[in-house]
């Protein structure tokens, strides 16, 4: 006895929205504490500035603003959303999820809502799940939001990370489509290298050593082995991008845009070279002004790209997320239509 299911449908990104914290932080504000220079940071990462959220700009308020913008641009209301997937690694509560707080605030407390922890790959993981939920008929419209307040988990004195990260939120609405507009995800892990990017110690350390304070135990700030991550991203993750193009039946010259996770401009440029992205394809470089915003970086970069290059609405883009885990995910998507 088999099940009687509707035929598999297709999915698309209906809209994108974003929120950038108000405060722009230039390299000049960061360099003194890490004995560095604006030139050094720009040469190694391409980063000129990033945004740090203030105390009134939380994971929830930033995500809410991004989601509301995406809903408006899709001509939908929160009542049309039946699933919310939130990707983050910097929500400061273990449970309940940030997603349930957000869906309640947005005004649809009955929708399915959950968080995923896939670091800088989180947005692509969310898009993959949302797309398949829509295609199978399990969901009609899904909000996928990537949001980070990494400034809460960055050591301003760490010479390896203090200048890299920034805060923000980006969201997309994924809904049904007549034609295939989101390609299959190519994803996986290199979990044997999970020490390359860490947030530690565990919160339980504070309970286990009540006599010691944060100054002794340390705060769970992000740490990163730059060379390991660079090698992995450029020489391993680029291959994932090539596979995602193959899985979608798309050649690099058919792309309008390349929107990889905004980790480091040199990684982005080397990836483009490895994947053989042709020169006419617009390469997202939001990292230059907004730093590495982890799970938020791809939708933030997508939004600014569409603002700068409106002709890219409806064009194909290759997305590649990769980060702590180490984990990766890539897919080809059609960029949302002009609102």
């Amino acid at each position: 006895m088999s099940l009687k299911l509707p035929a598999m449908g297709n999915s698309q990104i209906l809209s994108v929205g974003s929120y950038r914290p108000k405060r722009l932080v230039l390299n000049s504000e960061i360099v003194d504490r890490i004995d560095s220079s604006d030139e050094w940071i720009q040469q190694r990462t391409g980063i000129q500035s990033r945004r740090f959220a203030d105390s009134d700009e939380t994971i929830i308020t930033m995500a809410q603003a991004a989601c509301e913008m995406a809903l408006k641009r899709a001509n939908l209301t929160i009542a049309d959303i039946d699933t919310l997937i939130l990707a983050t690694i910097t929500y400061p509560f273990q449970a309940p999820s940030a997603a349930t707080d957000l869906i309640n605030l947005l005004g649809n407390p009955k929708a399915a809502a959950f968080d995923i922890s896939a670091a800088c790959a989180g947005f692509c993981y969310g898009v993959a799940m949302a797309s398949d939920l829509v295609r199978t008929g399990s969901a009609k419209n899904v909000l996928v939001v990537g949001v980070e307040k990494i400034s809460d988990f960055t050591d301003p004195n760490d010479r390896a990370t203090a200048f890299i990260f920034g805060d923000g939120a980006g969201a997309v609405v994924i809904g049904r489509s007549e034609e295939a507009r989101i390609g299959p995800v190519v994803w996986g892990s290199d979990a044997d290298s999970r020490d390359a990017i860490l947030l530690k110690p565990a919160y339980t350390e504070f309970r286990n050593s009540p006599d010691k304070g944060v100054s002794e135990i340390g705060w769970p700030n992000i740490s990163q082995q730059g060379q390991t991550v660079y090698r992995w991203a450029v020489f391993a993750v680029s291959k994932v991008g090539i596979k995602a193009l193959e899985a979608a039946g798309v050649r690099p010259d058919e792309l309008g845009a390349f929107i990889p996770h905004q980790a480091n401009m040199r990684i982005i440029e080397s990836m483009a070279k490895e994947i053989k992205i042709p020169s006419h394809v617009v390469i997202a470089d939001d990292i230059r002004v907004n730093g590495n915003t982890s799970a938020a970086s791809i939708p933030l970069a997508m939004d600014v790209l569409l603002e700068k290059h409106p002709q890219l609405h409806g064009e194909l883009a290759l997305l590649i997320g990769y980060g702590a885990g180490l984990v990766f995910a890539a897919q080809v998507v059609q960029l949302p239509p002009k609102p």
Partner: protein, 82 residues
């Protein structure tokens, strides 16, 4: 497969020239990658990956920090290929 020092040096010169744009003629065994050749930590990764492919050796991340001079890299590669 054993590799000759001279062959590794000449191959490495080509790689550093390609990755960092430094004329091969100015690359000698005693040159420091960072200070003399301005090969920064990320370019060093590209040099290492290219050297791995060219010489068929494995240069793990933890070994890269010990490759301070061109001579260090040549010795490492020659020993790794033995």
């Amino acid at each position: 497969m054993a590799l000759a020092h001279a062959d590794v040096l000449s191959g490495l010169k080509e790689i550093v020239e390609e990755v960092a744009g430094i004329p091969a003629a100015s690359i000698e065994l005693d040159k420091n990658f960072t200070e003399d050749l301005e090969v920064d930590s990320l370019s060093m990764v590209e040099v290492v990956v290219a050297a791995e492919e060219r010489f068929g050796v494995k240069i793990p991340d933890e070994a890269v920090t010990d490759l301070v001079t061109v001579g260090d890299a040549v010795n490492f590669i020659v020993n790794a290929a033995k």
